[in-house]
C-alpha cells in the first residue's frame, strides 16, 4: 500500500497537519480523520455539490480533490462559517426563508453562496441559479434557496457582514 504522507494545510484559519494515503480524497480526510463532518458526502462523483468547500477561496467538490492536493492550501468548510456568537447572515437567511428541509445539501449550498456573494455582491436571480447549479437539493425545489441568497445579498449590502 502507498505510504501515508503528511499534509500541512490551513483549515478555517487554523494550521492543520494530517496523515493520509494518496488515494484519500479531501472529503474523506475531513470527515474520517479530522472529524469535520459538516461537509457532506452525496454522490461522490462531482454532480451534487453536497461536499462543496472553499479551497484558496474557490468553491470545489471535495470528493474530487485528493487530500494531498490540499498541502499548502487554505481550506474553508462549513464549520468555519458561523462566528462564535451565532450564525453567519447566509445561514440566518437560510433559516428565515426555510431554505432547507433534510439539510444534507445545506452546507454545500452555503459554501457556494458564500463564494458567489464574495464575487458578486448583488447577483440577479438568474445569476444565483446559474452559480448554484452545481448544488442539488431534492427537498426545497430551489425557490426558497434562491430567496435566501437574495436576502443574504441584501443583508450584505446593508453592511451587516
Amino acid at each position: 500500500m502507498a505510504k501515508k504522507r503528511v499534509v500541512t494545510t490551513t483549515i478555517n484559519g487554523r494550521t492543520t497537519e494530517f496523515l493520509c494515503e494518496p488515494r484519500q480524497t479531501l472529503l474523506e480526510v475531513l470527515r474520517d480523520v479530522l472529524d469535520l463532518t459538516g461537509t457532506k458526502e452525496g454522490c461522490s462523483n462531482g454532480n451534487c455539490g453536497a461536499c462543496t468547500l472553499l479551497m484558496n477561496g474557490r468553491p470545489v467538490d471535495s470528493c474530487l480533490v485528493l487530500a494531498l492536493e490540499a498541502d499548502g492550501a487554505e481550506i474553508e468548510t462549513i464549520e468555519g462559517v458561523a462566528p462564535a456568537d451565532g450564525l453567519h447572515p447566509i445561514q440566518q437567511a437560510f433559516l428565515e426563508q426555510a431554505a432547507l428541509q433534510c439539510g444534507i445539501c445545506t452546507p454545500g449550498f452555503i459554501m457556494s453562496a458564500k463564494a458567489l456573494l464574495a464575487e458578486n455582491a448583488s447577483p440577479s436571480e438568474e445569476e444565483i441559479r446559474f452559480y448554484l447549479a452545481g448544488n442539488l437539493c431534492r427537498c426545497t425545489g430551489y425557490d426558497k434557496i434562491v430567496r435566501a441568497v437574495q436576502q443574504a445579498a441584501e443583508m450584505r449590502q446593508e453592511a451587516r457582514f
Binding site: M1, A2, R5, E21, P22, R23, Q24, T25, S44, N45, G46, N47, G49, T52, M55, R58, P59, V60, D61, C63, L64, V65, L66, L68, E69, S112, A115, L116, R129, F130, Y131, L132, A133, G134, N135
Partner: protein, 291 residues
C-alpha cells in the same frame, strides 16, 4: 478508491521522467474532475498519479500579439475570468462557462477536457474553431498536433505512452473576427451536450462578407469534428441567410450521431443545422461588434 502513489513534480522534465519510468501505468492529474471519478469507478487503474499543476509550462496563460498560450492545467474559471480572452477568444470562454457547475470550473482544465477525449467535450469544438494547436512533450521530444486531429475515438487520442499535453496555442485573432460556442441541452446548465457547435468567422472591413470561417461540431460523431467543407463554403460569401444556411447544411451532412437517451439521430441532425446557423450568426454579431 484504488491504491496508487502520488507525485507532484515542479518541472516538465521530472514529470516526463515519471511518466516514462511508469510506462503506461501513470496518469497526469490536472483538475481531477474526470480522473478522480474514473479511478474511483475503476475505469482507470493507474499505479501513479502525477499532479501536473506545479509545472510552470502547464499553468501558462499568456496573451500577446502572437496569439494565446494556454497551459494544459489552467482551470476554466481563469479563462473566462480574463476579459481579453473573453473578447478575443469568445468561443473558448463560452465553453468554459458551461463545463459542469462552478465547483467543476474551479478545477477542470481545457487541456484535461481535450485529453479525456469525450465526443461531447464542450471546449474541443471551441478549440477547433479557434484553430488551436496541441503542444505535446514526450520521451522523443516535442511535437504539435492540430486540435482537430487530436481525438481518435471516444476516450482515445494521439497521445502515446509517456507523452503529456503541455499547452494549447492559438493564433492571433485578426481584425473583424468573432467566435461562439453553444450547445443544446434539455436543461439550463450542468448537462452533457446533445449537440455542440463552435464557430469563428473573419469578416471583411465592411462586415458584410466572410473572409474565412471555421466550424466545429461536438456530440455528433465518435470525436469532435472540424466541418471543413462547411467552413470553406463561407469564404468570400456575403453575410446573409443563404450563405449561413448552406454552411449549416454542409455541417449537418458530416454529422454521424448516435441514438441515445439524450437524443435521436434525426433530432441531432436537425439540431446540428439549427445550432450551426445560430452560432454563426452570433459569431458574426461579435465580429461586427469588435469594430
Amino acid at each position: 478508491m484504488r491504491d496508487f502513489e502520488y507525485d507532484a513534480p515542479t518541472s516538465l522534465a521530472d514529470a516526463l521522467a515519471l511518466l516514462e519510468r511508469h510506462d503506461g501505468r501513470a496518469r497526469p492529474l490536472a483538475g481531477g474532475t474526470d480522473l478522480i471519478d474514473h479511478v474511483r469507478t475503476g475505469r482507470l487503474a493507474p499505479d501513479l498519479i502525477v499532479d501536473v499543476k506545479k509545472i510552470a509550462e502547464l499553468n501558462r496563460l499568456e496573451l500577446s500579439k502572437n496569439g494565446l498560450r494556454l497551459g494544459a492545467a489552467v482551470p476554466c474559471f481563469k479563462i473566462y475570468g480574463n476579459p481579453d480572452i473573453c473578447r478575443l477568444y469568445a468561443a473558448l470562454a463560452d465553453s468554459c462557462r458551461i463545463i459542469g457547475g462552478i465547483q467543476i470550473q474551479s478545477r477542470a482544465s481545457v487541456g484535461g477536457n481535450l485529453c479525456n477525449s469525450g465526443p461531447a467535450a464542450d471546449s474541443t469544438p471551441a478549440l477547433i474553431a479557434l484553430a488551436a494547436t496541441a503542444v505535446i512533450a514526450g520521451p522523443k521530444g516535442q511535437r504539435e498536433v492540430p486540435v482537430e486531429s487530436f481525438c481518435t475515438g471516444p476516450s482515445r487520442n494521439v497521445l502515446e505512452r509517456g507523452e503529456l499535453l503541455v499547452e494549447l496555442r492559438f493564433p492571433a485573432r485578426p481584425a473583424n473576427s468573432g467566435s461562439h460556442y453553444r450547445r443544446f441541452i434539455p436543461r439550463n446548465e450542468m448537462d452533457i451536450a446533445v449537440v455542440g457547435v463552435g464557430a469563428s468567422v473573419v469578416l471583411d472591413s465592411t462586415g458584410q462578407k466572410f473572409v474565412s470561417a471555421r466550424i466545429a461540431l461536438g456530440a455528433v460523431a465518435t470525436t469532435p469534428l472540424f466541418a471543413e467543407e462547411a467552413s470553406r463554403l463561407l469564404a468570400g460569401m456575403p453575410v446573409d441567410d443563404s450563405s449561413i444556411t448552406r454552411a449549416a447544411e454542409a455541417a449537418r451532412s458530416i454529422a454521424k450521431p448516435i441514438d441515445d437517451m439524450r437524443g435521436t439521430i434525426e433530432f441531432r441532425l436537425h439540431v446540428t443545422k439549427v445550432l450551426t446557423e445560430r452560432v454563426l450568426r452570433e459569431a458574426v454579431a461579435r465580429a461586427r461588434a469588435q469594430k
